[in-house]
Amino acid sequence: MSEKPVVHSTFTIERSYAAPPAKVFAAFADPAVKRRWLLEGKGSDIQSYSADFRVAGFEKSCFTFSGGPAGAPPAGTPMGNDTVYLDIVLNERIVFAYCMLVGERRMSASLATVELSASGSGGTRLLFTEQAGFFDPSDGAKLREAGWRELLNKVEKALA
């Protein structure tokens, strides 16, 4: 086998939003809203986006970076995202599997779980858990792997 072993990693991200769970859920469910926060970031150009938000529904996005962060593929590289929804509980939970593509290559496959719960003040607590397998950790995985853990390591080193 010439392929590198798949590197597995699990991470969680927590967020609190002032908006109620129904509104946060809607931002995932409505493709027109979702594309705004999912893809319309600084430095990426959307080529296409389609979403079918229901269990077993498919979502596909194609975009290019016009100048990504360090470690990202070079500008103009076609990137893609293939998502299939596995579980949807209104205003509470969204589970989906997705693949990240760089050019024709699939860089990773993940199971992502979004859990929403009402927080005291009418807001929402969002818990995002991703269990991912990175096929080539030297490339696309860098985008996600290098998270806060790396930052904290760096700060720790600086403190030493």
């Binding site: 991200i13 946060v24 809607a26 027109a32 926060w37 970031g41 962060p69 995002f128 996600r144 600086a158």
Partner: protein
């Protein structure tokens, strides 16, 4: 690509509580070294030494007018730290931040006509 040695210098400079306190004071306004040192229970020489580290990392700038050395924040150092941190944020962190910005807009999340005024977070 960010210059690693420069990033090292910025984080090393900020890793020291006293130096962070100096940066906090300077974020209010430029100050003379004497004014800057005033609330701290250390020698002026110690403060000057800390300031030197901050200057070398590009966080603080100083200039001498007559006999008074005035220090001010230099945006270069902190910008470097900011860039380093934001480049390390994961894809989903950035996405969920954008979602938060979208949700904090007053109107419901609709693809409705673009707003005349775009609210920026402070």
């Amino acid at each position: 690509m960010l210059n690693n040695a420069a990033v090292d210098r910025v984080f090393r400079a900020l890793a020291e509580p006293m130096r962070r306190a100096l940066v906090e004071r300077l974020s209010a306004r430029p100050m003379s070294v004497t004014d800057l040192a005033q609330p701290f229970d250390v020698t002026l020489a110690a403060v000057v030494q800390h300031l030197q580290v901050l200057e070398e990392s590009g966080i603080v700038r100083s200039e001498k007018t007559g006999r008074v050395r005035t220090c001010r924040l230099d945006s270069a150092g902190l910008k470097l730290a900011e860039r380093w941190i934001s480049e390390r944020r994961s894809l989903w962190e950035r996405r969920l931040d954008r979602l938060g910005e979208l949700l904090s807009d007053d109107d419901p999340p609709n693809p409705s006509p673009p707003k005349t005024k775009k609210r920026k977070k402070p």
